[in-house]
C-alpha cells in the first residue's frame, strides 16, 4: 500500500485530513513539551489529475536538510519494505519468531560450531 493509499484510507475512515491530523499531533506535542518539534511532514499535492507526496519542513534548523533528503527514494524504499513484509506474511501465513526453547537450541548449536579465535 502506498503512502497515498494510506492517506486515502485514513481520510475515508476518520473523515479527517491525514496531514492536518499529523500537524495537530505535532502541535499538541509542542504544547506539552513547551518546545516545537522539528518535522518533515509529507502532504498530498495535486498535480493536474495526479497526486504526489510533498515534504513540508517545520522548525528544521538545518539549512541543508532539503538537499540531504532524497524524497522519492525515501518514500519508495519505505513502500518497498512494507510491500515485501506484507508479501512475506501472505506467502508464509504462519510466520512467527523463534520460541525460547528454539532460540536456546540454535544458540547451543553455534556454541559447538564456533571456536576461540
Amino acid at each position: 500500500m502506498s503512502a497515498l493509499q494510506v492517506a486515502d484510507l485514513f481520510e475515508n475512515m476518520t473523515g479527517d485530513s491525514a496531514s492536518e491530523t499529523l500537524g495537530n499531533y505535532l502541535s499538541d506535542a509542542a504544547n506539552r513539551t513547551d518546545q516545537r518539534l522539528p518535522s518533515i511532514v509529507y502532504t498530498r499535492l495535486r498535480i493536474g489529475s495526479a497526486y504526489a507526496m510533498w515534504p513540508e519542513y517545520s522548525d528544521v534548523t538545518d539549512a541543508n536538510a532539503l538537499q540531504r533528503t532524497i524524497h522519492e527514494n525515501f518514500v519508495g524504499m519505505s513502500e518497498r519494505l512494507v510491500q515485501l513484509s506484507n508479501a512475506a506474511r501472505t506467502i508464509f501465513p504462519g510466520m512467527r519468531a523463534l520460541t525460547e526453547p528454539e532460540s536456546a537450541n540454535l544458540r547451543g548449536y553455534y556454541k559447538k560450531v564456533f571456536r576461540k579465535a
Binding site: 508479501a87 512475506a88 519468531a97 564456533f114
Partner: protein, 188 residues
Amino acid sequence: MLEQDFVSFLPTYAKPFAKQLQELPLNYEKWVYAAALPSKIYQGDLFSGVRFASIDDDGEAIVADVPAMVLSNTCDVQPEQSESLLVAPLIDLEDYSAQSVLAGEELENHIRALKRNEISQLMFLPEAHGVKNCFVDFSRISPLPLSYFYSNTAANRFQSLSSCGHYVMMVKVAHHFTRPESPDAARA
C-alpha cells in the same frame, strides 16, 4: 486473500511466479535455485568455507568456517565496489537436528515450522541441485572484507538463487527486520 490481491504485492519480475509462491512449500525445490551459476556474484549466492567472527558470552572473539549466503546487494559485491559485504550462516539441517537439545514432538514442530519458512529469522533452503536441506540465519549476519572474500571465498560458490528464489529471500529479510515490535516494547 483474493488471488488478485496477492499478485498486486509482487513486483513485475515475480508476478509470473505467483502460482508457485501461493503453492509453497509445494515444489519449492524445483524453482528456488538458478538453472546455472551466473558469471558474476549475486545477492543470495551460496558459498562454502566462509569465515565468521563473533563474540561469545564472555566477550572472547570466536570464529567459524561455515557455508554462507551473501546478503549484500549485488552492486556492492562486485570487485572493488565496496569495502565489505554481509554474509549470513547456512546451517545444515541434518547436522543441526543431530546436535539438537530439543527432542520428540518439540523438535518435530520446530523442524516443520522451519521447513515451511514460518520462522521469521530463518530461511529454509530445500535439498536440490547439490544443496542439502539447510537454512540461513538472518540473526547472525557478519561483515567480511571484500578483498578477503575475493581472495579466499569467491571461488567456493556452489549455488545461486533463481529470480523467484531471490524474491523469497527478500521478503524474508524484509519481514525479519521490519516486523512489528511487541506492544510491550517500552520506548521512551
